[in-house]
């Protein structure tokens, strides 16, 4: 793509124009000097001056002017052509002048680097030292430079950047940098980098978290083979525990995998329209058996037709986790409220329980992987400690917020807020 830009762009728009303007200015200056010199000889003055002015006016001025205008229009065509090519590229492209100031960019670039502005230095939009020094290198050495830059917050992103020096006007004389511009091509490699990271993290997390249940499985197997060899009753009891352990382990792997999958596409926002009320009633239906088992009544409020932009399956996971937690951990309250509010600036869903609540020091930590307030209690309830981590990543992807409020002894409320796109004021 860069090569194409180079070929299709025979002349630098602004610079050539400036050069012709300079020629024009030079001609005018010479003319004035001539006239001034002539003033010295009064006899020749009127005749010669008149002639010169006429000749030069007839020859150079209109010509120069004509040439300048021709150049401007041809330059504008070329510039429009380059702009068209730049906007046609699927990846972010930014064109810089020989000072590193931005002269052109496409919509993809603006989306990835919101601080981009024509005439402003690239560093205002990309602060990454790798990119800054790549641009410096191109300007200094006139050769291609490559760099990679990573952003960790608010969502992780990685770009491979290729900065190519382009001489739009090969024929122009003067110092080599005079007509140098830089074409910066950004390639989003977030998915590839995440995949690499995901493998590493998955192995680390899985091996650490599976170690304990695996060790206990071994223990039971040894008991069944040894001391409990001839005790069918004990064997049955141990096998039941082992089944439960194995179930938990496979759930852990499933959860880790879904977490990795969500993380992989966290930088891509979903586009589907989803009926939130139907998501909620579906979730509540699937949780009915659990709520019966825990003697907890799920009360609903505001279940009117409400749409948000999102991924249906992922939103089901979010509310499944929140309502399941409320039922599991808040069962002593005997009641869980699920409230849907279609507000002016946001759509919000609140899941509130009347259980033991959560102490303030745990609140900021709940969404960390494997974080459990009471490890034994959560284990016993079949929890892996990944539920809220999953919720957080899904909501990140939806640009939605999770607000947790709780006081010890007064239950807990988990509120999910989907911001509404700003409505244009009426004209």
């Amino acid at each position: 793509m860069v090569a194409a830009t180079q070929q299709e762009a025979p002349a630098p728009p602004t610079r050539r124009w400036r050069q012709s303007a300079a020629v024009g200015a030079l001609a005018t200056t010479l003319l004035i000097i001539c006239v001034l010199a002539l003033i010295g000889s009064p006899v020749l003055l009127p005749a010669l001056a008149g002639a010169l002015v006429t000749v030069i006016a007839a020859l150079s001025r209109p010509r120069a002017e004509h040439k300048v205008w021709a150049e401007i229009s041809s330059q504008e065509t070329v510039r429009a052509g380059i702009q068209a090519i730049v906007s046609g590229v699927a990846d972010p492209v930014v064109v810089l002048d020989s000072h590193g100031n931005v002269t052109m960019f496409n919509a993809q670039a603006k989306a990835a680097l919101p601080q981009l502005g024509i005439g402003r230095h690239l560093s205002f939009a990309v602060r990454s030292p790798e990119v800054v020094s790549a641009v410096e290198r191109v300007l200094r050495e006139g050769t291609v430079a490559e760099a990679e830059f990573h952003e960790k917050v608010p969502v992780e992103r990685s770009f491979e950047v290729r900065a190519t020096p382009v001489r739009f006007d090969a024929a122009s004389a003067g110092p080599p940098s005079a007509s140098l511009e830089i074409v910066m091509l950004f390639r989003d490699v977030t998915a590839a980098r995440r995949l690499e990271r995901m493998r590493v993290d998955f192995v680390a997390n899985a091996s650490h978290e599976l170690r304990t249940p695996l060790a206990s499985l071994y223990g039971f197997i040894e008991t069944i083979e040894g001391p409990a060899k001839n005790d069918p009753a004990a064997q049955a009891r141990f096998l039941a525990i082992m089944r439960e352990q194995a179930r938990r382990m496979s759930r852990l792997i499933d959860d880790l995998l879904s977490l990795s999958r969500i993380e992989l596409k966290e930088h891509v926002q979903p586009t589907e329209e989803v009926r939130l009320d139907s998501v909620l009633s579906e979730v509540i239906d699937t949780l009915t058996p659990l709520s019966l088992e825990c003697r907890t009544k799920i009360e609903i409020e505001g279940m009117n037709r409400t749409q948000v932009t999102g991924d249906r399956d992922e939103l089901i996971r979010v509310f499944e986790n929140l309502i399941e937690n409320a039922v599991k951990y808040g069962q002593s309250g005997g009641r869980v409220d699920v409230m849907l509010v279609d507000g002016e600036r946001a759509v919000s869903v609140t899941v509130r329980d009347y259980g033991p609540g959560i102490a303030p020091e745990h609140l900021p930590r709940l969404t960390e992987r494997f974080y459990r307030v009471d490890v034994a209690d959560s284990r016993q309830k079949g929890g892996t400690g990944l539920g809220l981590a999953l919720v957080k990543h899904i909501l990140n992807r939806h640009k939605a917020r999770l607000v947790v409020r709780s006081e010890l002894g007064a239950g807990a409320s988990f509120e999910v807020m989907f911001a509404k796109p700003a409505i244009n004021e009426p004209a």
């Binding site: 601080q115 230095h121 560093s123 205002f124 939009a125 990309v126 602060r127 990454s128 030292p129 790798e130 800054v132 990573h150 952003e151 960790k152 917050v153 608010p154 680390a204 997390n205 650490h208 303030p360 020091e361 745990h362 609140l363 900021p364 930590r365 960390e368 992987r369 494997f370 974080y371």
Partner: protein, 237 residues
């Protein structure tokens, strides 16, 4: 002629702002990599960050000299003067952030291979994520000259304090659970403290961006949510 001077002055200011943005980029990058070195227990990465600190210091000094020269040569007034003053102050905070990143890396070198459970560094990583977001937002606010964004950063600092307090208690619990954890946890506590202080510097930057744009000051001292030192002694489970 006057216009020429004005334009040269604008160019000076622009170069100064650009330098601050680049310095900020370096501080962001050092912080991100310091945390990565901690999470991945990578001494190589830690050493890279330690080496970068000299570059940050040199850049900061260069910018400060440039700013002082600008004041001397152009004698700026009003918003222009504020721009130069804010640039000087912001570079100081960014330089401190770099120092703190370097300090974290020195601790990484000390504890590499001794961290038994990944959960020990998870909380520190979480804290760093909040602080990095603050740093990114405040640098964006600086580049955009956006007072509202700066104010938002300034107000968000409380989240960091709450998380720090929680982390402090968690690390103390680990120390009490198993004395072999004490060495590592002490280093991690200092890492967390360093990160929390980076958050304070980001807040300072927010104050300066606000001052630069509006000429006003954000309320001098805020009530901190940090109650760590007031806590009753905890019992060991």
């Amino acid at each position: 002629m006057a216009e020429h001077i004005v334009r040269a002055f604008d160019a000076d200011l622009d170069a100064l702002s650009r330098g601050v943005a680049e310095l900020g980029g370096l501080a962001e990058s050092m912080t991100t990599r310091a945390i990565e070195a901690l999470v991945r227990q990578s001494p190589a990465m830690a050493n890279e960050v330690i080496a970068l600190d000299a570059k940050l210091d040199a850049l900061q000094q260069e910018l400060e000299e440039k700013a002082v020269l600008t004041i001397a040569r152009r004698q700026p007034m009003a918003v222009d003067l504020r721009a130069v003053i804010a640039a000087i102050r912001v570079t100081h905070d960014l330089e401190r952030i770099g120092d703190l990143a370097k300090n974290i890396c020195k601790r990484v070198l000390a504890i590499t291979g001794l961290v038994q459970a990944p959960k020990l560094v998870k909380g520190v990583e979480h804290l760093s994520q909040l602080v990095l977001t603050q740093l990114k937002d405040v640098l964006d606010a600086y580049v955009e000259r956006n007072a509202e964004k700066a104010l938002a950063v300034w107000e968000h600092d409380e989240n960091i304090d709450a998380l720090y307090t929680s982390l402090f208690r968690e690390l103390l619990t680990y120390m009490m659970e198993d004395p072999r954890n004490i060495g590592v946890c002490a280093h991690l506590l200092f890492c967390a403290k360093n990160i929390e202080r980076m958050g304070d510097h980001a807040t300072n930057v927010a104050e300066n961006v606000y001052y630069l744009v509006t000429g006003g000051k954000l309320l001098a001292e805020r009530v901190k949510a940090d109650t760590t030192s007031l806590e009753k002694p905890m019992s060991a489970q």
